[in-house]
Amino acid sequence: MIEIEGVGHRYGEHRVLRDVDLRLTEDRVGVIGSNGSGKSTFARLLNGLLIPTEGRVGVDGLDTRRRGKEVRRRVGFVFQDPDIQIVMPTVAEDLAFGLKGRGLGREEIRARVTEVLEEYGLSEFRDHPAHLLSGGQKQLLAIAAVLVTGPRYVVFDEPTTLLDLRNKRRIGKLVRELDQKVVVVSHDLDLLAEFDRVIVFDRGRVAADGPAEESIAAYVAMHPPL
Protein backbone atom coordinates (compact mmCIF):
# COMPACT_ATOMS: atom_id res chain seq x y z
CA MET A 1 0.00 0.00 0.00
CA ILE A 2 1.15 3.54 -0.74
CA GLU A 3 0.20 6.11 1.89
CA ILE A 4 0.32 9.84 1.33
CA GLU A 5 -0.20 11.74 4.57
CA GLY A 6 -0.61 15.50 4.75
CA VAL A 7 1.61 15.98 1.73
CA GLY A 8 2.44 19.36 0.30
CA HIS A 9 5.25 20.28 -2.03
CA ARG A 10 6.96 23.51 -2.99
CA TYR A 11 9.59 24.39 -5.52
CA GLY A 12 11.09 27.41 -3.80
CA GLU A 13 8.20 29.81 -3.29
CA HIS A 14 6.00 28.01 -5.77
CA ARG A 15 3.57 25.61 -4.13
CA VAL A 16 2.53 22.76 -6.43
CA LEU A 17 0.81 20.37 -4.02
CA ARG A 18 -1.14 20.96 -0.81
CA ASP A 19 -3.03 18.87 1.75
CA VAL A 20 -2.90 15.58 -0.09
CA ASP A 21 -4.07 12.60 1.99
CA LEU A 22 -4.49 9.35 0.08
CA ARG A 23 -4.13 5.61 0.56
CA LEU A 24 -3.54 3.76 -2.67
CA THR A 25 -4.64 0.15 -2.28
CA GLU A 26 -6.22 -0.54 -5.66
CA ASP A 27 -4.47 -2.43 -8.48
CA ARG A 28 -5.09 0.29 -11.07
CA VAL A 29 -5.01 3.93 -10.03
CA GLY A 30 -5.18 6.74 -12.57
CA VAL A 31 -4.17 10.37 -12.01
CA ILE A 32 -5.44 13.16 -14.23
CA GLY A 33 -5.31 16.93 -14.15
CA SER A 34 -4.48 19.97 -16.21
CA ASN A 35 -0.92 20.94 -17.05
CA GLY A 36 0.70 22.31 -13.90
CA SER A 37 -1.87 20.72 -11.60
CA GLY A 38 0.84 18.88 -9.68
CA LYS A 39 0.23 15.37 -10.97
CA SER A 40 3.78 14.73 -12.23
CA THR A 41 5.18 15.99 -8.93
CA PHE A 42 2.75 13.64 -7.18
CA ALA A 43 4.01 10.72 -9.30
CA ARG A 44 7.64 11.51 -8.41
CA LEU A 45 6.79 11.51 -4.72
CA LEU A 46 5.60 7.91 -4.91
CA ASN A 47 9.02 6.37 -5.45
CA GLY A 48 11.11 8.93 -3.62
CA LEU A 49 12.42 10.74 -6.67
CA LEU A 50 11.12 13.78 -4.82
CA ILE A 51 10.70 14.09 -1.08
CA PRO A 52 7.68 16.17 -0.03
CA THR A 53 8.40 19.46 1.67
CA GLU A 54 5.43 18.72 3.96
CA GLY A 55 3.98 15.42 5.18
CA ARG A 56 5.15 11.92 4.37
CA VAL A 57 4.87 9.26 1.72
CA GLY A 58 5.13 5.61 2.73
CA VAL A 59 5.35 2.49 0.58
CA ASP A 60 4.54 -0.74 2.41
CA GLY A 61 5.49 1.09 5.58
CA LEU A 62 8.80 2.41 4.21
CA ASP A 63 9.16 6.17 4.45
CA THR A 64 10.49 7.63 1.18
CA ARG A 65 12.44 10.21 3.17
CA ARG A 66 14.54 7.65 5.06
CA ARG A 67 14.32 4.50 2.95
CA GLY A 68 14.44 5.97 -0.54
CA LYS A 69 16.65 3.31 -2.07
CA GLU A 70 14.45 0.47 -0.83
CA VAL A 71 11.35 2.33 -1.98
CA ARG A 72 12.77 2.75 -5.48
CA ARG A 73 13.41 -1.00 -5.63
CA ARG A 74 9.75 -1.58 -4.89
CA VAL A 75 8.34 1.18 -7.06
CA GLY A 76 9.42 1.26 -10.69
CA PHE A 77 9.02 4.49 -12.63
CA VAL A 78 8.33 4.83 -16.35
CA PHE A 79 8.97 8.30 -17.77
CA GLN A 80 7.04 9.99 -20.53
CA ASP A 81 10.08 10.16 -22.80
CA PRO A 82 11.82 6.80 -23.10
CA ASP A 83 14.89 8.49 -24.55
CA ILE A 84 15.91 9.71 -21.11
CA GLN A 85 15.13 6.42 -19.45
CA ILE A 86 17.12 4.16 -21.77
CA VAL A 87 20.70 4.66 -20.64
CA MET A 88 22.59 1.88 -22.42
CA PRO A 89 23.45 1.68 -26.12
CA THR A 90 21.62 -1.55 -27.02
CA VAL A 91 18.33 -3.16 -26.04
CA ALA A 92 19.81 -6.15 -24.16
CA GLU A 93 22.40 -3.98 -22.42
CA ASP A 94 19.71 -1.64 -21.18
CA LEU A 95 17.65 -4.51 -19.80
CA ALA A 96 20.75 -5.88 -18.09
CA PHE A 97 21.60 -2.48 -16.59
CA GLY A 98 19.00 -2.56 -13.80
CA LEU A 99 19.87 -6.16 -12.93
CA LYS A 100 23.61 -5.51 -12.72
CA GLY A 101 22.97 -2.94 -10.01
CA ARG A 102 21.25 -5.65 -7.95
CA GLY A 103 24.27 -7.87 -7.80
CA LEU A 104 22.97 -10.69 -10.02
CA GLY A 105 25.50 -12.99 -11.69
CA ARG A 106 26.27 -12.80 -15.39
CA GLU A 107 24.42 -16.00 -16.31
CA GLU A 108 21.39 -15.06 -14.26
CA ILE A 109 21.28 -11.65 -15.93
CA ARG A 110 21.58 -13.22 -19.39
CA ALA A 111 18.74 -15.66 -18.67
CA ARG A 112 16.47 -12.98 -17.23
CA VAL A 113 17.15 -10.62 -20.15
CA THR A 114 16.36 -13.38 -22.67
CA GLU A 115 13.14 -14.15 -20.82
CA VAL A 116 12.01 -10.51 -20.80
CA LEU A 117 12.98 -9.96 -24.45
CA GLU A 118 10.72 -12.87 -25.39
CA GLU A 119 7.93 -11.76 -23.08
CA TYR A 120 7.76 -8.31 -24.64
CA GLY A 121 8.41 -9.34 -28.24
CA LEU A 122 11.80 -7.63 -28.34
CA SER A 123 13.95 -10.71 -29.05
CA GLU A 124 14.73 -9.69 -32.62
CA PHE A 125 16.05 -6.35 -31.31
CA ARG A 126 18.39 -7.87 -28.71
CA ASP A 127 21.57 -6.20 -30.04
CA HIS A 128 19.78 -3.35 -31.77
CA PRO A 129 21.02 0.18 -30.97
CA ALA A 130 18.38 1.77 -28.73
CA HIS A 131 18.35 5.05 -30.65
CA LEU A 132 17.25 3.25 -33.83
CA LEU A 133 14.08 1.82 -32.26
CA SER A 134 10.68 3.32 -33.08
CA GLY A 135 8.86 5.39 -30.44
CA GLY A 136 6.62 2.47 -29.50
CA GLN A 137 9.54 0.05 -29.27
CA LYS A 138 11.47 2.51 -27.11
CA GLN A 139 8.54 2.85 -24.71
CA LEU A 140 8.18 -0.92 -24.63
CA LEU A 141 11.88 -1.23 -23.82
CA ALA A 142 11.62 1.42 -21.09
CA ILE A 143 8.72 -0.49 -19.50
CA ALA A 144 10.48 -3.86 -19.88
CA ALA A 145 13.64 -2.39 -18.31
CA VAL A 146 11.61 -1.40 -15.25
CA LEU A 147 9.69 -4.68 -15.03
CA VAL A 148 12.81 -6.84 -15.40
CA THR A 149 13.86 -5.77 -11.91
CA GLY A 150 10.59 -7.08 -10.44
CA PRO A 151 9.03 -4.06 -8.72
CA ARG A 152 5.80 -4.43 -6.75
CA TYR A 153 4.39 -1.16 -8.02
CA VAL A 154 4.93 0.72 -11.27
CA VAL A 155 4.31 4.44 -11.66
CA PHE A 156 3.82 5.66 -15.22
CA ASP A 157 4.18 9.33 -16.08
CA GLU A 158 2.17 9.88 -19.26
CA PRO A 159 3.32 6.67 -20.93
CA THR A 160 1.30 7.11 -24.12
CA THR A 161 1.65 10.83 -24.78
CA LEU A 162 4.34 10.52 -27.45
CA LEU A 163 2.87 7.46 -29.18
CA ASP A 164 0.71 6.88 -32.25
CA LEU A 165 -2.70 5.23 -31.89
CA ARG A 166 -1.48 1.69 -32.51
CA ASN A 167 1.29 1.96 -29.94
CA LYS A 168 -1.01 3.78 -27.51
CA ARG A 169 -3.31 0.77 -27.60
CA ARG A 170 -0.41 -1.65 -27.31
CA ILE A 171 1.08 0.08 -24.27
CA GLY A 172 -2.41 0.63 -22.78
CA LYS A 173 -3.14 -3.10 -23.02
CA LEU A 174 0.20 -3.91 -21.44
CA VAL A 175 -0.42 -1.50 -18.55
CA ARG A 176 -3.88 -2.92 -17.92
CA GLU A 177 -2.59 -6.50 -17.88
CA LEU A 178 0.41 -6.05 -15.61
CA ASP A 179 0.62 -8.16 -12.47
CA GLN A 180 1.98 -5.21 -10.50
CA LYS A 181 -0.11 -2.51 -8.91
CA VAL A 182 0.10 0.52 -11.16
CA VAL A 183 -0.36 4.26 -10.82
CA VAL A 184 -0.71 6.00 -14.18
CA VAL A 185 -0.52 9.75 -14.67
CA SER A 186 -2.10 10.49 -18.02
CA HIS A 187 -4.17 12.79 -20.18
CA ASP A 188 -5.35 9.71 -22.03
CA LEU A 189 -8.84 9.25 -20.61
CA ASP A 190 -9.43 6.09 -22.66
CA LEU A 191 -6.46 4.47 -20.97
CA LEU A 192 -7.85 5.20 -17.51
CA ALA A 193 -11.50 4.45 -18.29
CA GLU A 194 -11.40 0.92 -16.86
CA PHE A 195 -9.18 1.68 -13.87
CA ASP A 196 -10.31 0.89 -10.32
CA ARG A 197 -9.82 4.44 -9.16
CA VAL A 198 -9.02 7.80 -10.73
CA ILE A 199 -7.77 10.84 -8.81
CA VAL A 200 -8.21 14.30 -10.29
CA PHE A 201 -5.73 17.03 -9.41
CA ASP A 202 -6.53 20.70 -9.77
CA ARG A 203 -4.13 23.45 -8.76
CA GLY A 204 -2.24 21.15 -6.42
CA ARG A 205 -5.24 19.70 -4.60
CA VAL A 206 -7.26 16.53 -5.01
CA ALA A 207 -10.41 17.77 -6.74
CA ALA A 208 -12.09 14.40 -7.26
CA ASP A 209 -11.34 10.85 -6.25
CA GLY A 210 -13.37 7.73 -6.98
CA PRO A 211 -14.27 5.14 -9.61
CA ALA A 212 -12.94 5.95 -13.07
CA GLU A 213 -16.28 6.83 -14.59
CA GLU A 214 -17.20 9.33 -11.88
CA SER A 215 -13.79 10.98 -11.66
CA ILE A 216 -13.42 11.30 -15.42
CA ALA A 217 -16.93 12.81 -15.63
CA ALA A 218 -15.97 15.30 -12.90
CA TYR A 219 -12.75 16.18 -14.72
CA VAL A 220 -14.56 16.70 -18.02
CA ALA A 221 -17.15 18.88 -16.25
CA MET A 222 -14.30 21.01 -14.84
CA HIS A 223 -13.21 21.76 -18.41
CA PRO A 224 -16.27 22.76 -20.46
CA PRO A 225 -15.75 23.23 -24.22
CA LEU A 226 -14.43 26.66 -25.19
Binding site: S40, T41, M88
Partner: protein, 214 residues
Protein backbone atom coordinates in the same frame (compact mmCIF):
# COMPACT_ATOMS: atom_id res chain seq x y z
CA UNK B 1 30.91 2.21 -31.20
CA UNK B 2 27.90 4.29 -32.14
CA UNK B 3 25.69 1.47 -33.34
CA UNK B 4 28.54 0.16 -35.51
CA UNK B 5 28.87 -3.21 -33.82
CA UNK B 6 28.04 -6.07 -36.13
CA UNK B 7 27.24 -9.51 -34.83
CA UNK B 8 29.54 -12.25 -36.03
CA UNK B 9 31.33 -15.46 -35.16
CA UNK B 10 34.64 -14.69 -36.82
CA UNK B 11 38.01 -15.20 -35.11
CA UNK B 12 38.27 -11.41 -34.75
CA UNK B 13 34.91 -11.27 -32.96
CA UNK B 14 36.11 -14.03 -30.62
CA UNK B 15 39.15 -12.09 -29.38
CA UNK B 16 38.41 -10.71 -25.89
CA UNK B 17 37.64 -6.99 -25.76
CA UNK B 18 40.53 -6.32 -23.38
CA UNK B 19 43.02 -7.86 -25.80
CA UNK B 20 41.64 -5.82 -28.69
CA UNK B 21 41.92 -2.61 -26.69
CA UNK B 22 45.46 -3.53 -25.68
CA UNK B 23 46.44 -4.22 -29.32
CA UNK B 24 44.86 -0.95 -30.37
CA UNK B 25 46.76 0.93 -27.68
CA UNK B 26 50.04 -0.79 -28.57
CA UNK B 27 49.54 -0.23 -32.30
CA UNK B 28 48.61 3.39 -31.71
CA UNK B 29 51.83 3.94 -29.80
CA UNK B 30 54.10 1.88 -32.08
CA UNK B 31 52.88 3.47 -35.30
CA UNK B 32 54.27 6.83 -34.24
CA UNK B 33 57.77 5.39 -34.17
CA UNK B 34 57.53 3.86 -37.65
CA UNK B 35 59.35 5.90 -40.29
CA UNK B 36 59.03 3.48 -43.18
CA UNK B 37 56.30 3.74 -45.81
CA UNK B 38 56.75 0.04 -46.57
CA UNK B 39 56.12 -0.96 -42.93
CA UNK B 40 53.05 1.27 -42.73
CA UNK B 41 51.83 -0.18 -46.02
CA UNK B 42 52.31 -3.64 -44.52
CA UNK B 43 50.36 -2.58 -41.42
CA UNK B 44 47.54 -1.37 -43.63
CA UNK B 45 47.53 -4.69 -45.48
CA UNK B 46 47.44 -6.44 -42.09
CA UNK B 47 44.41 -4.41 -41.03
CA UNK B 48 42.71 -5.20 -44.35
CA UNK B 49 43.37 -8.89 -43.71
CA UNK B 50 41.74 -8.58 -40.26
CA UNK B 51 38.69 -6.99 -41.90
CA UNK B 52 38.51 -9.95 -44.27
CA UNK B 53 38.84 -12.35 -41.33
CA UNK B 54 36.08 -10.51 -39.50
CA UNK B 55 33.90 -10.87 -42.62
CA UNK B 56 32.97 -7.22 -42.62
CA UNK B 57 31.01 -6.43 -45.81
CA UNK B 58 33.06 -4.40 -48.28
CA UNK B 59 30.35 -1.77 -48.46
CA UNK B 60 30.85 -1.05 -44.76
CA UNK B 61 34.64 -0.95 -45.19
CA UNK B 62 34.34 1.39 -48.18
CA UNK B 63 32.07 3.73 -46.22
CA UNK B 64 34.58 3.89 -43.39
CA UNK B 65 37.54 4.47 -45.72
CA UNK B 66 35.65 7.24 -47.51
CA UNK B 67 34.96 8.92 -44.16
CA UNK B 68 38.57 8.98 -43.07
CA UNK B 69 40.27 9.65 -46.42
CA UNK B 70 39.39 13.37 -46.63
CA UNK B 71 40.92 13.99 -43.20
CA UNK B 72 44.00 11.93 -44.03
CA UNK B 73 44.41 13.79 -47.32
CA UNK B 74 43.99 17.19 -45.66
CA UNK B 75 46.52 16.32 -42.98
CA UNK B 76 48.94 14.94 -45.57
CA UNK B 77 48.58 18.06 -47.68
CA UNK B 78 49.64 20.24 -44.76
CA UNK B 79 52.58 17.93 -44.07
CA UNK B 80 53.61 18.04 -47.72
CA UNK B 81 53.68 21.83 -47.66
CA UNK B 82 55.61 21.96 -44.40
CA UNK B 83 58.01 19.00 -44.51
CA UNK B 84 57.76 17.22 -47.86
CA UNK B 85 56.02 14.33 -49.59
CA UNK B 86 57.54 11.47 -47.59
CA UNK B 87 56.30 12.81 -44.25
CA UNK B 88 52.93 13.49 -45.89
CA UNK B 89 52.58 9.85 -46.97
CA UNK B 90 53.67 8.64 -43.53
CA UNK B 91 51.12 10.81 -41.72
CA UNK B 92 48.29 9.88 -44.08
CA UNK B 93 49.03 6.16 -43.85
CA UNK B 94 49.41 6.29 -40.07
CA UNK B 95 46.01 7.94 -39.69
CA UNK B 96 44.36 5.49 -42.07
CA UNK B 97 45.79 2.44 -40.27
CA UNK B 98 44.84 3.72 -36.83
CA UNK B 99 41.30 4.76 -37.67
CA UNK B 100 40.63 1.56 -39.58
CA UNK B 101 41.99 -0.51 -36.71
CA UNK B 102 39.87 1.39 -34.17
CA UNK B 103 36.80 0.90 -36.36
CA UNK B 104 37.52 -2.81 -36.61
CA UNK B 105 37.58 -3.04 -32.81
CA UNK B 106 34.25 -1.21 -32.72
CA UNK B 107 32.69 -3.35 -35.41
CA UNK B 108 33.60 -6.61 -33.72
CA UNK B 109 33.12 -5.78 -30.03
CA UNK B 110 29.92 -5.32 -28.06
CA UNK B 111 29.69 -2.16 -25.99
CA UNK B 112 29.08 -4.24 -22.87
CA UNK B 113 32.30 -6.20 -23.47
CA UNK B 114 34.19 -2.97 -24.07
CA UNK B 115 32.79 -1.45 -20.88
CA UNK B 116 33.61 -4.59 -18.90
CA UNK B 117 37.19 -4.45 -20.21
CA UNK B 118 37.53 -0.78 -19.21
CA UNK B 119 36.14 -1.59 -15.76
CA UNK B 120 38.62 -4.47 -15.38
CA UNK B 121 41.54 -2.22 -16.33
CA UNK B 122 40.44 0.43 -13.82
CA UNK B 123 39.69 -1.96 -10.95
CA UNK B 124 43.23 -1.79 -9.47
CA UNK B 125 42.70 1.97 -9.14
CA UNK B 126 39.66 1.51 -6.89
CA UNK B 127 41.69 2.01 -3.66
CA UNK B 128 42.66 5.43 -5.02
CA UNK B 129 39.02 6.44 -5.23
CA UNK B 130 38.39 5.57 -8.88
CA UNK B 131 34.99 3.89 -9.31
CA UNK B 132 35.37 1.58 -12.32
CA UNK B 133 31.63 0.90 -12.67
CA UNK B 134 30.97 4.65 -12.81
CA UNK B 135 33.59 5.12 -15.52
CA UNK B 136 32.09 2.17 -17.42
CA UNK B 137 28.62 3.67 -17.10
CA UNK B 138 29.97 7.01 -18.32
CA UNK B 139 31.47 5.40 -21.42
CA UNK B 140 28.30 3.45 -22.19
CA UNK B 141 26.10 6.50 -21.68
CA UNK B 142 28.32 8.62 -23.90
CA UNK B 143 27.87 6.07 -26.67
CA UNK B 144 24.13 5.94 -26.04
CA UNK B 145 23.53 9.69 -25.95
CA UNK B 146 25.65 11.00 -28.82
CA UNK B 147 22.96 9.98 -31.36
CA UNK B 148 20.25 11.39 -29.09
CA UNK B 149 21.98 14.78 -28.93
CA UNK B 150 22.59 14.68 -32.68
CA UNK B 151 18.85 14.08 -33.14
CA UNK B 152 18.12 17.08 -30.92
CA UNK B 153 20.53 19.19 -32.97
CA UNK B 154 18.72 18.09 -36.14
CA UNK B 155 15.38 19.06 -34.56
CA UNK B 156 16.66 22.52 -33.63
CA UNK B 157 18.07 23.02 -37.12
CA UNK B 158 14.81 21.85 -38.72
CA UNK B 159 12.77 24.18 -36.48
CA UNK B 160 14.99 27.12 -37.45
CA UNK B 161 14.79 26.26 -41.14
CA UNK B 162 11.00 26.05 -40.84
CA UNK B 163 11.15 29.66 -39.61
CA UNK B 164 13.32 30.73 -42.51
CA UNK B 165 16.70 30.77 -40.76
CA UNK B 166 19.18 28.73 -42.78
CA UNK B 167 22.35 29.31 -40.78
CA UNK B 168 22.58 30.93 -37.39
CA UNK B 169 24.83 30.82 -34.35
CA UNK B 170 21.58 31.04 -32.37
CA UNK B 171 21.43 27.31 -33.10
CA UNK B 172 23.69 26.64 -30.11
CA UNK B 173 21.52 28.23 -27.42
CA UNK B 174 18.40 26.06 -27.89
CA UNK B 175 20.57 22.98 -28.33
CA UNK B 176 22.35 23.74 -25.07
CA UNK B 177 19.02 24.19 -23.27
CA UNK B 178 17.70 20.93 -24.71
CA UNK B 179 20.89 19.10 -23.75
CA UNK B 180 20.79 20.45 -20.20
CA UNK B 181 17.16 19.35 -19.90
CA UNK B 182 18.15 15.94 -21.19
CA UNK B 183 20.90 15.75 -18.57
CA UNK B 184 18.40 16.77 -15.91
CA UNK B 185 15.93 14.08 -16.94
CA UNK B 186 18.68 11.54 -17.24
CA UNK B 187 19.81 12.17 -13.67
CA UNK B 188 16.26 11.57 -12.52
CA UNK B 189 16.01 8.39 -14.60
CA UNK B 190 19.25 7.08 -13.11
CA UNK B 191 17.86 7.67 -9.63
CA UNK B 192 14.67 5.87 -10.61
CA UNK B 193 16.64 2.94 -11.98
CA UNK B 194 18.61 2.49 -8.81
CA UNK B 195 21.84 4.39 -9.52
CA UNK B 196 21.69 6.53 -6.45
CA UNK B 197 23.78 9.61 -6.77
CA UNK B 198 22.54 12.55 -4.79
CA UNK B 199 19.86 11.17 -2.52
CA UNK B 200 16.45 12.72 -2.84
CA UNK B 201 16.03 15.58 -0.43
CA UNK B 202 13.11 17.68 0.64
CA UNK B 203 12.15 20.30 -1.83
CA UNK B 204 14.64 19.05 -4.38
CA UNK B 205 14.28 20.95 -7.61
CA UNK B 206 12.46 18.83 -10.16
CA UNK B 207 14.85 17.47 -12.73
CA UNK B 208 12.35 17.44 -15.52
CA UNK B 209 10.95 20.62 -16.95
CA UNK B 210 7.45 19.55 -16.07
CA UNK B 211 5.68 21.25 -13.19
CA UNK B 212 8.66 23.53 -12.87
CA UNK B 213 7.51 26.92 -11.65
CA UNK B 214 7.29 29.42 -14.45
Amino acid sequence: MLSLHREGRSPVHAVPAGVKLLVLFAAGTALFFVRSVAVLGGALAGVALCYALARVPWRVVARQVLTVVPFAVALSAVQWLVTGWEAAVLVGLRMLVLVMLANLVTLTTRTSAMVAAIEAVLRPLAPLGVRPERVGLLVAMTIRFIPVIKEQADQVRAAQRARGVERSTAFLAPLLVKTLRLADGLGEALDARGVDGAAARPGKTPRSGKDRPL
